[in-house]
């Protein structure tokens, strides 16, 4: 990216743990990231890597207890979000930080029409009359390309298809006077691929229309390729690589990022191959991770040092950093 825009949200050294019956799970360890105005930052990683916990820490959606912030700050427009009281963060959720989820059916209330639920946001946070709110809702439905919006506002969630429900959720997320940050947690994972393509197009389209920042959480490198400006790769609670999207795909420097790309059957290198280059082994138990690099037990490049201490940041270029002792051994592709 040529020009650097103003930082909208900054997560600084966040550590988050869950005190479970079977021990303390350090779900997120020392994560820092910045989201700039108008950019799409994707957090990518596999189940349990802490990507959702990181994102949910922003608007305090992690259950606390058992969850607990051990360390860190989340700065948004001059305030540390982690210090806000419940009603303060609730206000922020409806006005400046919105969220869309994987399964819109569970995020929408089944006993109210979708129109009422979105109009409610306008009425609560912007004190509109019911009629004004309904009109704005219909406008939003047009913006997210729901066909026959005048009729659709009167539908109940179950009467809409999965794709339409996700569009309604996006409309709800936009129902704020100054949409600042949209957190999209696996927004297309539950959708069919032709519908996914439409929703991704819509999000890209909206991002350009209204200067909105998107924090996109996904496990799917294909979605990353379509959407991201910058990418943060997480593994077992740690940030392991951060770069602009082109560097991530073309010159990955962390063995895990490389392994993730090599695991994709759609990788062009497998045109005529009969086996994939899979990462061996499984994700470590999050309760017993030591001080070293959590990827050490699966890593082809691991050395003795890797088991002992987590590597410091290596800056490879202005837009590319990696956290790996042996990054220089990792060849691209």
């Amino acid at each position: 990216m040529a020009e650097k825009k103003e930082i909208l949200l900054s997560i600084q050294n966040l550590s988050f743990s869950f005190d479970t019956q079977r021990g303390v799970v350090n779900a997120v360890r020392d994560i820092s990231l910045d989201i700039r105005k108008g950019e799409t930052l994707t957090l990518v990683g596999e189940s349990g890597c802490g990507k959702s916990v990181t994102a949910h820490a922003i608007n305090q959606l992690n259950p606390m207890p058992p969850g607990k912030v051990d360390h860190g700050k989340i700065m948004f427009r001059g305030t540390d979000l982690l210090t806000l009281k419940r009603h303060e963060i609730e206000k922020l959720r409806g006005t400046q930080i919105s969220m869309i989820f994987q399964e819109p059916m569970t995020a929408l209330n089944p006993v109210f029409t979708v129109g009422t639920q979105i109009a409610d946001v306008f009425m609560t946070h912007q004190h509109m009359t019911k009629q004004e709110a309904m009109e704005r809702t219909i406008d939003l439905f047009k913006l997210v390309k729901i066909p026959a919006p005048e009729r659709r506002v009167n539908s109940y969630p179950h009467q809409l298809s999965g794709g339409m429900r996700q569009r309604a959720m996006i409309a709800m997320a936009l129902a704020s006077p100054e949409p600042g940050l949209m957190i999209a947690d696996e927004p297309t994972t539950a959708l069919d691929v032709t519908i996914q393509a439409q929703i991704l197009d819509l999000l890209n389209d909206l991002k350009h229309k209204i200067e909105m920042s998107i924090l996109l959480i996904t496990h799917d490198m294909g979605v990353v390729a379509e959407m991201a400006d910058r990418v943060v790769v997480m593994y077992a609670g740690r940030k392991v690589e951060e770069a602009d999207v082109f560097s991530i795909f073309e010159t990955p420097r962390h063995p895990y990022t490389l392994g993730l790309l090599n695991s994709l059957p759609s990788n062009t290198k497998y045109k005529n191959a009969r086996r994939l280059e899979a990462i061996t082994g499984t994700v470590p138990d999050m309760r017993t991770i030591g001080a070293g690099c959590p990827f050490e037990n699966r890593c082809a490049y691991a050395s003795q040092k890797c088991g002992q201490e987590f590597p410091a940041e290596t800056v490879l270029s202005e837009s590319h950093s990696v956290w790996c002792h042996n990054y220089h051994m990792v060849k691209e592709g």
Binding site: V193, T194, Y270, A278
Partner: protein, 329 residues
Amino acid sequence: MPVGASTIIEVRDLKKYFTIKTEGVSEEKSLLKAVDGVSLDVYEGEILGVVGESGCGKSTLGKTIMRLHDKTDGQVLYRGKDLFAKDPSAMKDMTLKMQMIFQDPYSSLNPRKKVSKIIGQPLDIHKIGTPEERLERVAQLMEEVGLNPKFRTRYPHQFSGGQRQRIGIARALALNPEFIVCDEAVSALDVSVQAQILNLLLDLQEKYGFTYLFIAHDLAVVEFIATRILVMYLGRIVEIADKHELVGNHVHPYTQALFEAFPATSPKGRELKKRIVMGDVPSPINPPQGCHFHPRCPYAVDKCRQAYPPLKEVSPGHSAACWVVQKDI
């Protein structure tokens, strides 16, 4: 058809309808035509991939072939013998040779049984071997799928998702099957684990010459593993061809839309991508008249709205069901 390959499964005009209650208080019932007249041959040793979006009937097809559902009409033949023949003892012989691997490694394993019991259950049911021999076979199967046999006294919850899928595979292998239906067998797994399981399925296939019917919604996975691919849409086959032919020269507008909707593999040139499919998949309860795809199809003409196109060969081994492609308009 590959030269010299024999047909292991023949599906003839198979139909599977479900009767369901419609919305509201009325007692009115309607028919969901999940599989609506599917005919296909599965050749020995091939991996036939089945792709399509939710509700296209791909899983119902797999389950009906396995006789987990009763058919509504049509025939399924296993090496020429009717699978729906009433004689249960003949059935039992045939089902020994056919197994299934399921999507969800959490719900497809009994949480109250030890792994050795789960993997050995097919042997117990069919009374194969002495208890000692069965234990030995279980250990051997666990080794085969990459699980440490000393974990055989553990319960499913003590394993990760990928390991559970390996347990499901070991169970499917227990009776030395010939034909295995993999129903979204890797869909619930993380991508790094998915790659391991795909490799395992390929290793096993090479070693034992299995025939797979590989059902998945993920085009990339099917494109990688399959040797032949069929595309389903609302209960019917719309296109079928050898993998390379289907990937390189697909002709049906729906297949085209599927390939175009599939996310890019690299961010390069993503701005230039164009997409054609509009709107949602219609409900399979009341599919559109004529060709089911016509409301979403950019090439639809009058004939498409009136009659469903037959599946016709467009080049050797490559068939498509589309009036426009068949130039019959």
